[in-house]
Symmetry: C2
Subunit: 243 residues, 2 copies
């Protein structure tokens, strides 16, 4: 008997997100099916976070508790043989009994990927947001520094998400350009519902002039209506989990 | 009345290639439909090459002959509104009467994209070949230099393609690594049927030791059976057309 931590990569387009839901196909249920095929019985698979419908992951960690002995080196190939092409197990390792994919995580890094061109990119229809107006990355990164630090992020949380403590610590917010691709990269000790998508939507509207208030003032206001729009799910990637 | 040259980008997965075929969906027919929507009448659209089923293009050039006057700057957006998401017009310009997308081309550059990892990449299932064995790019590029120059490429042409003159001039063959992605980049004044895919398949088998003969000897033999396999279409991109 052992606990295993799996590192997954998935394209979220065809899924309702990580978490099992009635009448929808979730990444969790598909992974649990593969685990059952490999181990011969059903084991709970617990993820490091819920992810929204259509959100992707370059690195998503989940754990399987009290599963039978299995060569961890061979687990990725065994599971991949039973997973659809849009999900891949990149790595597996045996972890301590106390390890929990979600509660043991110290923080996460998300990437929001933008195809910054007037012409769409046929290869990134489901995997990057097309945004026509030229993004000034230096300016974006500079104004987003207001996010960094320990703040109450009520303004950057989906209204009615029912969370009481909206204080989170943002570690960094970077903006990188690679040709016509722009990446917003943000890490924090935790994220509220839709937080990254609202943060990125606010940065874009600050750049375009639609929002005039500095981000520090929007944080201060603790008012969702002061911030920008929630960007679509298909540009968002869970990129790293810190333990 | 004017001739227009269009630069397209397309993901070839859903198409039987460029050329119109009975009972199959081609890029050409879809572009001709969009041209008809914009110009109000049907005009022939001629491509710079046939491409195989499933092959992609970062840059594919075609021309429309004797079409009505239209602001070339606005043509991409107008056409894109009538094209499916997996095809995009990147640019349009008015060209001389004598311009022909295929016959005026001096050469082309293709890229063969490989995801060089034991674990598949969920984001590149249709757009890169997964190849598990580590590719030594320096070695690959060195041994592929035999391709460069003017040669009879009969060994690197699909058998029975019915072409009499198999002499082509290869300008360069490069191999670049970017993380777990490997790109074979090859340019020539023209390509035979399946030529790039057979060249790349031969390079991989030379690296793995399955093929022992140097590429110069395989060229010399003028015998398709001496060369390596035709790699799958989904890793191949028409990357540039030289005029």
């Amino acid at each position: 008997m052992a606990n295993y931590a799996l590192t997954l990569c998935f394209k979220g387009t065809a899924y309702c997100g990580w978490q099992v839901q009635n009448n929808a196909r979730s990444v969790q249920s598909v992974v649990q099916d593969a685990v059952e095929m490999v181990f011969g019985a059903r084991y709970g698979v617990t993820g490091c976070s819920r992810t929204d419908s259509g959100v992707h992951a370059n690195e998503f960690v989940c754990h399987i508790k009290n599963a039978p002995a299995f060569d961890a080196e061979k687990l990725p190939l065994a599971l991949n043989a039973h997973l659809p092409y849009d999900i891949a197990v990149k790595a597996a390792r045996v972890v301590a009994d106390g390890f929990h994919a979600r509660y043991s995580a110290k923080g996460k890094e998300y990437v929001y990927l933008i195809w910054n061109s007037r012409v769409r990119n046929p290869f990134y229809i489901d995997t990057a947001l097309q945004y026509p107006k030229r993004i000034d990355c230096e300016k974006a990164e500079a104004l987003a520094q207001d996010f960094v630090g320990r703040h109450d992020f009520t303004s950057f949380m989906a209204a009615n998400s029912g969370i009481e403590d909206a204080v989170r610590e943002v570690w960094y917010f970077k903006c990188e350009r690679d040709g016509d691709f722009v990446r917003f990269i943000v890490a924090a000790n935790g994220f509220l519902y839709n937080m990254v998508r609202i943060m990125c939507g606010t940065v874009l509207q600050r750049l375009s002039g639609r929002i005039q208030e500095p981000i520090s003032a929007i944080i201060e206001a603790k008012d969702r209506s002061k911030a920008g729009p929630t960007l679509p799910a298909h540009g968002l990637y869970l990129n790293k989990v810190f333990y």
